[in-house]
């Protein structure tokens, strides 16, 4: 299909002298349909995410962005891709530079991509560019529910949940279309997890953001995503709409994952 933002087409990936990490993986991420990549450790989820981010290249097959094969050698297309696809990592303690203020961390994509109208216009006065960046950082912090004064503080002053909000602010500051998130809530406490999932849901509804989420937590995935692909040892064993896959799983591995999810005893 042509309307996919990101697509994996028969992707293979492996290291020399070892079993393939990914084999024949194909799926498409469509606008407005957040996608879950589910599986256990060693299934190839994180490798797949790295391929989608262009941090590694598939051994064979292709990753397509807007219907065209990902080509990060071309500067213009690389900027376009980085602007359209941003990421949030699992561990909010190691993914933020402890020596930089939040304002600088969040502004990083704007600086490195030369984004923002004033920033693009090299003739604009420096003060204007700074003001523009400040304004966009403030808007991003506001959109993730952090106070404006967070900008002047350092990451260590924030809790895990707040740090993950900072990481999300950094990802959405350049108004990407896709957010790739690798286990974005698994390092967080349960109550914080709910709030961050709520925040991601809000961003998808209000900003037209599509989330691609690697997770092993089916509850989280069921809350947020519309589509799902289940990976087992480098292969997609089942994929489709989340209602269909979780509602009537056909593959034994999917059934086992669903049965293993810890649940509260039913309320009387």
């Amino acid at each position: 299909m042509s309307n996919a933002i990101l697509e994996a087409r028969d992707v293979h990936f492996g290291y020399r002298h070892s079993a393939p990490v990914l084999a024949g993986v194909s799926f498409a991420v469509r606008p407005g349909r957040s996608m879950a990549l589910v599986g256990e450790s060693g299934a190839g989820k994180t490798t797949l995410l790295r391929l989608l981010l262009g941090l590694a290249r598939p051994g064979s097959g292709a990753i397509l962005f807007d219907g065209r094969e990902l080509d990060l050698g071309d500067r213009a297309r690389r900027l376009e891709f980085r602007r359209g696809v941003q990421t949030v990592f699992q561990d909010p303690y190691s993914s933020l530079d402890p020596r930089q203020r939040v304002s600088r961390i969040v502004a990083e994509p704007l600086r490195s991509l030369g984004l923002g109208p004033a920033a693009v216009d090299r003739d604009a006065p420096r003060a204007d560019r700074r003001a523009e960046i400040r304004q966009r950082v403030a808007a991003a912090l506001d959109s993730v529910g952090l106070p404006a004064d967070a900008a002047d503080r350092y990451p260590h002053e924030f809790s895990g949940g707040q740090r993950q909000r900072i990481a999300i602010a950094r990802a959405v500051v350049c108004e990407p279309r896709v957010l790739l998130a690798d286990e974005p809530v698994s390092a967080l406490d349960v109550t914080t997890r709910v709030r961050i999932v709520d925040l991601l849901g809000e961003l998808t509804r209000e900003r037209g953001l599509t989330v691609v989420m690697v997770s092993h937590d089916l509850g989280v995935v069921a809350t947020l995503c519309e589509d799902i692909a289940v990976l087992e040892r480098g292969r997609i064993v089942e994929q489709g709409g989340i209602d269909a896959v979780l509602g009537s799983p056909t593959h034994p591995y999917t059934r086992r994952l669903i049965a293993s999810a810890p649940r509260l005893p039913a309320a009387r």
């Binding site: 109550t191 709910v194 089916l218 069921a222 086992r256 994952l257 999810a261 810890p262 509260l264 005893p265």
Partner: protein, 270 residues
Amino acid sequence: MSLLTVSGLSVHAPDGRALVRDLSFAIGPGDRLGLIGESGSGKSLTALAIMGLLPAGMTVSGSVLLDTPGLPASEVVGAPARLLNRLRGRAVTAVFQEPLTALDPLMRVGRQVAGPLRRWRGLRGAALREATLAALAEVRLTDPERIARAYPHEISGGQRQRVAIAMALACRPALLIADEPTTALDVSVQADVLSLLANLIAAHGMSLLFITHDLAVVAGVTDRVLVMRDGTAVESGTVRDIVTAPRAPYTRDLVNSARTFDAALDRRKP
């Protein structure tokens, strides 16, 4: 009579901050208690205080009384290392979250499991070897011979955690402390390890203190739970009561959060 009686336990950081405040609870023979709380609630420090393993610089007050069969009743708080060494392994042992750091990376698994057997049961030679393999087989590791020869990095995370459980249970402690034993594991492995733990505890009539941040995990393992927040006990009761009718606002928040994800999963089900 209780096996473990914690009363008025407080732990202070070197800078004077109270990390655990006036905590009291008891565990009887065969009891299973879940200690629930989020990061920073003081649940792991409580476990360390019970084992007498708090980091240097922290000050403890209150009382931790261990009264286990075959050993004189002992007060852990302020006890000398000599007494603590006698308690650890037989009165109380622990399984921690990360099996990779709990095991010595430079020692074969078999030798590590043999350690406590040698020390506490006085086994040597062929008898020790046999007991080691039996301990590994008991935690349902297939091919215990191979596992015993392996180094920790050569086996999977789930297998490592089973080895850690085998070591902890080797000397039949009266009380097992499990501190987030399945947090680092995959969900299906987690389900297996939890049922293994529950079966072994029941089979040997041991008591269990299960520490976790995940209400859903603890609900399947223990009968009672104690909810902690900011170093103090917020609420305690049976799992069923806490889950169906939480009284404290914090517990309600915790239960509702877990329910949110459960409900999303249920909605998708036929």
